[in-house]
């Protein structure tokens, strides 16, 4: 599929279009928040606290009288930045490890890498985050590291699996005969062929990262005040939910819609990029 045919296929996939629209909405809000928000998120207005949604404050105001719509916009920035960098860490470290393991399949390197992966898997991500924060204190950076570490084995395993099946192909054999080394083959022939897999997994890890970031900042292990983040907004809302439900509802909806958008986009991309799976899934 190339050019217009690809475009048509993409547009005809309902989940891909819906997912992409939702994702674009929140990425757009995050980018826009750098230049403009309806109100200043740092501005407190105690007399105007806990107002329900209105024409002036679309999502209402929080317990300090801050505009929730603006905070959700800025919060998108935190969530997206943390999740994106965490996926970046996972890919940057996991993919080379997986490629190396596949190139020396069955060897000592392969064994060490895969057992190391198993070990990281054995630690639930939350425990890694807790360990890191117990030692280094809570911050957005530590949340990124905690989520990122967990992403490494995901990408390592995926690229190893994808690469292993490619190494048996004839065109790889041809490349070896022509004198290319394992590193060049991995970079020039294997990597482009597993790129699809990586993109699809990337969107899924991105959405998991957003959920993880929300959870970590909800328990106070992620971004620290005054940086607005969806998880923190929910933590602040918890004791006030009986009086002003809106302050809990909007940040939560933002999380749900972003994650839903990314998941739908991931599903749609998988169908589009891997027609074999599409047939199998039907």
């Amino acid at each position: 599929m190339a050019g217009r045919g690809w475009m048509r296929a993409a547009l005809s996939s309902r989940s891909l279009v819906l997912g992409a629209v939702l994702t674009a909405l929140f990425v757009g809000a995050a980018v826009l928040s750098f230049f403009w928000t309806p109100h200043d998120v740092a501005q407190m207005n105690i007399p105007g606290k806990l107002q329900p949604p209105s024409a002036v404050h679309w999502f209402g105001t929080d317990h300090f009288g801050r505009d929730i719509f603006s905070m959700v916009m800025v919060g998108a920035r935190t969530s997206i930045a943390v999740a994106l960098v965490a996926v970046g860490i996972g890919m940057a470290l996991g993919v080379p490890l997986g490629l190396a393991a596949a190139a020396r399949a069955g060897g000592l390197l392969d064994e060490v890498i895969m057992r190391g992966n198993d070990l990281v898997f054995a630690f639930p991500a939350l425990l890694i985050a807790i360990l890191i924060t117990a030692v280094f204190g809570a911050s957005a950076l530590n949340a990124i590291i905690a989520i990122g570490i967990f992403n490494i084995p995901v990408f390592a395993r995926l690229s190893r699996g994808g690469a292993l099946s490619l190494w048996k192909r004839e065109y790889i054999l041809a490349a070896r005969v022509s004198g290319k080394g394992a590193v060049r083959i991995s970079l020039e022939h294997i990597l482009p062929n597993i790129a699809n897999l990586l993109i699809v997994q990337g969107t899924i890890q991105f959405s998991l990262g957003i959920l993880a970031e929300a959870g970590l900042s909800y328990v106070g292990l992620g971004a620290q005040p005054p940086t607005p983040s969806w998880g923190r907004m929910l933590a602040d809302a918890q004791t006030l939910i009986g009086i002003a439900p809106h302050i809990a509802i909007f940040p939560g909806l933002a999380i749900v819609l972003t994650v839903l958008g990314l998941n739908l986009m991931g599903d749609g991309l998988r169908d589009l990029l891997d027609p074999r799976l599409r047939r199998a899934r039907r």
Binding site: R115, D118, L119, A122, F123, P124, L126, L127, I130, L131, I132, T133, A134, V135, S207, L211, A214, G215, Y218, V219, L234, A237, Q238, I241, G242, P245, A248, I249, G252, I255, V256, L257, V259, L260, N263, L264, R281
Partner: protein, 315 residues
């Protein structure tokens, strides 16, 4: 089978050994001097020295590590600095909340996911299938702690059917205890049930496409008989793995949910210990959770091999 089990047992032991080293280094070596970290910067030097003595910090790190692991193996988890009680006692108390919660959530998740997945797979492409897939897609996207807050809003604050949090203790009776755990368990179970239903559906779809299913139908079995005797049994293998993985996620995920509902479980213990800088408790609880995760995964691997003889031979 025995050889396979021994091989897995060896890798289990290695995983635990490496994990314990990582946790020990992270908590006792990286912060420099744990004693002054725990007491804060304003501590008097003689207090720090006394704590150093108590924690055995005058030994070298390898010696301390061996002492720690040796203690763990004998059920001695050290003494909490803030509470002045043995950590093992604190953990076993909290475990009576965290473990039932995880099991309750796992049971709920399985009870929801199995029928949902089976209905979706057997009526592939129908409205039921689409509806179930839509709901599970949403269930995966909802953060469990937010769902928990919404349930508190509806069932505790508005309808007043449940209390918004806290735990009466099992002394108060089985029913009050279960009632206090119901909302937390439902919020933990929702995302897990969504994932499990999807796995169940796709595993069942894969099996239903197999030739032996057609053969079974051809020899005159009804759809229901085929489903029960052949399809479900084969689809169960991937589903079992996910259930095993989920149990460990539920134990760890309970850390957040326990905080929403103010449940006195392991999760709250960890957070209280972090803010009190009680590293000894953090260290032991994290090690215990990792131990639980690794052992559950080991058990799942064995169950797997018992169900499917092919797996034994391949490795």
């Amino acid at each position: 089978m025995l050889r396979y089990a021994l091989k897995r047992l060896l890798s289990l032991a290695i995983s635990l050994a490496v994990a314990s080293v990582v946790i020990f280094v992270a908590i006792e070596v990286v912060p420099g001097d744990p004693a002054s970290y725990m007491l804060g910067i304003n501590a008097r030097p003689d207090t720090v020295a006394a704590l150093r003595e108590e924690l055995g910090l005058n030994m070298s790190p390898p010696e301390r590590y061996i002492a720690w692991v040796g203690g763990l193996l004998q059920g001695d988890f050290g003494t909490s600095y803030t509470y002045r009680t043995p950590v093992a006692e604190m953990i076993s108390e909290r475990l009576w909340v965290s473990l039932p919660l995880a099991l309750f959530a796992l049971a709920l998740s399985t009870l929801i996911a199995f029928p949902a997945g089976i209905i979706a797979a057997t009526r592939r492409g129908s409205k039921w299938d689409l509806g179930i897939m839509g709901v599970t897609q949403l269930g995966i996207a909802v953060p469990n702690f937010w769902f928990a807050m919404l349930m508190v809003l509806v069932f505790a604050i508005n309808l007043r059917w449940f209390s918004a949090g806290g735990f009466p203790g099992w002394e108060a009776g089985l029913l009050p205890g279960l009632k206090a755990l119901l909302l937390p368990a439902v919020s933990l179970a929702l995302p897990q049930a969504s994932i499990l239903a999807r796995v169940m559906r796709s595993a069942l779809l894969d099996t239903l496409d197999e030739d032996f299913i057609r053969t079974a139908r051809a020899k005159g079995l009804t759809r229901r008989q085929v489903l029960r005797r052949h399809a479900l049994r084969n689809a169960l293998i991937p589903v079992l793995t996910i259930i095993g993985l989920q149990f460990s996620f539920l134990l760890a995920g309970a850390i957040i949910i326990e905080n929403v509902f103010f449940l006195p479980g392991l999760g709250r213990l960890v957070f209280q210990s972090i803010s009190a800088r009680d590293l000894i408790v953090v260290e032991s609880v994290v090690m215990l959770l990792v131990f639980a995760v690794v052992v559950v995964n080991f058990a799942v691997d064995l169950a797997y091999a018992a169900v499917d003889p092919r797996l034994r031979r391949r490795r």
